[in-house]
Subunit: 413 residues, 2 copies
Amino acid sequence: MALIVQKYGGTSVGSIERIKNVARRIVATKRRGNQVVAVLSAMAGETDRLLALAEELEDDSGHINEREMDVLVSTGEQVSIALMSMAIGTMGEKACSFLGHQVQILTDDAYTQARIEQIDPERINEALTNGYIVVIAGFQGIDRSGNITTLGRGGSDTSAVAVATALQADLCEIYTDVDGIYTTDPNICHQARKLSRISYDEMLELSSQGAKVLQIRSVEFAKKYGIPLHVRSSFSDDEGTVVCQEDELMEKAVVSGVAANKNEAKITIHGIPDQPGIASAIFSSIADQGIVVDMIIQNISEEGLTDLTFTVPENDYQRSLSIIGEICRKIGGKTVLGDDKIAKVSIVGIGMRTHANVASRMFSALARENINIMMISTSEIKVSCVIAEKYTELAVRVLHEEFQLDKDPECKE
Amino acid sequence: MALIVQKYGGTSVGSIERIKNVARRIVATKRRGNQVVAVLSAMAGETDRLLALAEELEDDSGHINEREMDVLVSTGEQVSIALMSMAIGTMGEKACSFLGHQVQILTDDAYTQARIEQIDPERINEALTNGYIVVIAGFQGIDRSGNITTLGRGGSDTSAVAVATALQADLCEIYTDVDGIYTTDPNICHQARKLSRISYDEMLELSSQGAKVLQIRSVEFAKKYGIPLHVRSSFSDDEGTVVCQEDELMEKAVVSGVAANKNEAKITIHGIPDQPGIASAIFSSIADQGIVVDMIIQNISEEGLTDLTFTVPENDYQRSLSIIGEICRKIGGKTVLGDDKIAKVSIVGIGMRTHANVASRMFSALARENINIMMISTSEIKVSCVIAEKYTELAVRVLHEEFQLDKDPECKE
């Protein structure tokens, strides 16, 4: 008998018909002799409906009470788990729903983006032992004072992994509307190939480079506790992609995937005095506004002056520009330039660690298509290039072909 | 400084505009120097929307999991309190919402019709002391195991009274879509007059006879703990009706109001052997099915046989008929007759205790209009008559006129 945690996303529970479909899947898993815990998102569209209500109440400053926002949006998952438990009941199995306060999904108190600290497995285990299918609200928890918190968009993935960890589950299945992790976005590149396995580290890089399948935090959690994740579709019975530890991987691809992210913008400050403390002054004022800077490049100094370029999320572009404009005056910089028509394309693969020429192959491939590289950033298993936004799809296809990602690694020379 | 509990019903919070309107009212109450606790229902239509979702999941037997039903429908109030707290926040006052599990609104474990046992005032008092307006979800609580329970339709009234009791509030205002308690339904009788005061006991009788303004349980609660209820409209500033202890009443009307209820049906068993234990056999089998019997009449015995007539809610009529048919055969009764085209009209007033001729005036008034009385039932402060349904409105108007309910009692002789 295995203990299986299954997470179903909003599309999978988006209507009563789909809820029944998922209920049948859960019941079938149980009847194959397993204990099942289902973690659910809100029905597709529900969270947006609730956010639209709240938006009507925003004051002129656009400020909204984040504690109450969490009270509001957490109702979406509550509706899902109640309906799912009812649906399972009509199929002859016992089901019991649990909310954050009932199984003590403890988080910190960062409303709208809380992090799970602990889950009490006792009540879940008791229900499982008594033959129940347990249905848990994803995306939410409570802080130590009993306030409702939520984990940010995609947080149900993290809920599922945290539940799997607390229960020492044998498997954590993430059911979604795609059938696995692809070498790149199939909408951009028709040669995209579904991966059968991928390492936690590669998945983390792909997620942070723009692949939207899993919330980054859930992959971090799974990696930390060694929980294998099986990402698959709730609309088919096909095998999906297993995200697991590197040493369990049969193949160690040089490059596993190509990701692209158009939601960034870059800002350059020219002619900054090259003095200690300047970079800190710039980036601390940006960080104070809750803006997350991604890539940073500083050119070598010329005549005591330097240039600094960095990227921010496109949503924060205008706000960042005005902050930086002010700082530029203060520190005596020359000009501030910005560009929000950029994209970041990245190649990710654990094989890079042992293959020296991966980055240069990437640069050559882009050069062959006359795609200019504006910024470069590398990690141990990733190379990212910022290019003009209009070349995004072309760049993805070129890189996919260059690294032969359409072919199974075992068939490559 | 007074501590005021205000309850707002579903119509009062039925849209974002109405939520803002109520928020302004709450803020104004606070700025007049009071501490305010608001207890809210779900936005009008929301509970029905949720019930419709659940209905799609009913199995063939019509059975539904009541625990999960409460998890589902309790989200309605959660949405209201979050939005209201946000709305108050945009008006410059601090607000904090609380759910059943956060302020320990403890109930028994009778899902969908739970009764409040206890509320912990500590966290509410702490928030009030810190200058917050407190916004509490009505209609719901938790049982001792932390499961979500709900109090039945209209349960937010009871939530408000229970909160007022726990906090020893100075006043409990019930805001609704009518502007007070009327001598009868103004839709039936245009002479209906708003009462300025009414006793708990009269209100209890009126509620149980069909007046829908307050949940009966809330009046029982208010009576038990001596909390005056001020029933008024959230759409105007007019004074409404105060429901309070009898000894606080200036006027002790002979008759305070006329109520009518069309949702009953009557069943008669003819020719039952007049033996001990027969009535018990009949009514215990009805009660076992969860059917609540209202009036019961047994005629005197003739040649060892008797007739028994009783009323049940119209919804339970067909089910009751088939149960009674079976019992009739078992106990050797002659025939079972039923009629669901009946209505019960009632007059209510604490003055009846000291006025002997009230019932006979009622019977005469109905007789003058040739309205036949099928059944009669009385209590200390109420007389009810079952009549043919088609005479309901006529009977209400006749009785309203007979007891001069359109006139202020002080003007009557």
